[in-house]
Homo-oligomer: 156 residues x 2
DNA sequence: AAGACATGAAACTTTCATTGTTACGTGATT
DNA sequence: AATCACGTAACAATGAAAGTTTCATGTCTT
């Protein structure tokens, strides 16, 4: 696949859970983001470890937010989904005996590392609550269009 | 494969061509970076279009630098290899009808776009000549280790 | 003119990471 | 006991970059 979608998808889920559904099963969440329940469990496991969500087994179980969106930064979500590699470019991982390649790799690595630091700082400065408010602004401006058009959005 | 290696590999090649080999065939270049001559031609084609290198067919032909390394920025090389996507994370490409997803995607896209702008500015500020000097510094500091250990490095 | 050399380019295969899917185990509620 | 839902392992599908094969075109040497 092209890009790692986990961070984007998890943000999507967290906002829906806070604003619209409260508790939700993996199956329901999977429908929100058009994927499979197992994929959802894989992603949510990292969030649970970090105390962002909690899960309960059995009848009536499912997933629940464990803290307010205002206390979750985009960086927290990025880390929780396994801090996948940020960049699609760069030198190969294993070091080379060639001094030219070493010099090239060192420069690129240093430049990318700096960019990574800044990007993660940006992520740390944005809370999921802010993004949720972005959504609400769009909702108002749209004249209250259907905000969450997934199957089963009508509730039970 | 994991990451797009083209930018790193092309920098490697450009410095070797300037400092060590002058003209080189695709086959010789392929040995420098441990790959295939066709892969080399694919990458070099973009550099030729931008006037960074020139190619000549036939006996005695091959590739040659068309301008000094000091006039080539890392950004030039990045663009020349086809400006592959910089990031490995982000939302999916096609827009969603869900307003929450739209808000999430817009935030992520904006944040990544800003990071991309800054990273490309960094690339634009670094010349290949600077990286070549990094190499020479390493070469001195290493006590003149074999600087380019590919097969055929002894010349003809 | 013939042969060797080298790029140009199309078509296909391989590789790798993410995502998707199936299957089964465990725990909790009714 | 039956149902529901998470937990996890194992495997398949997908897509992009890289690797490979093949043939055409152009150029130099003999």
């Amino acid at each position: 696949m092209a890009r790692d979608l986990r961070m984007s998808r998890m943000l999507h889920v967290l906002i829906h859970m806070d604003r619209h559904v409260g508790r939700a099963t993996s199956e329901q969440i999977a429908q929100m983001i058009s994927t499979n329940a197992v994929v959802v469990r894989r992603m949510m496991a990292g969030l649970r470890e970090r105390g962002i969500v909690s899960s309960e087994k059995g009848h009536g179980g499912g997933w629940q937010l464990a803290c307010p969106l205002a206390e979750i930064s985009l960086r927290d979500v990025y880390e929780a989904v396994g801090h996948p590699p940020l960049f699609n470019i760069g030198p190969q991982a294993d070091p080379s005996p060639c001094l030219v390649e070493q010099a090239v790799d060192a420069r690129l690595d240093a430049t990318l590392a700096e960019a990574e630091t800044r990007l993660l700082a940006q992520f740390a400065a944005i809370t999921v609550e802010e993004v949720a408010q972005d959504f609400e602004r769009r909702f108002e401006e749209s004249g209250h269009a259907v905000p969450f058009p997934w199957h089963g959005a009508t509730g039970e």
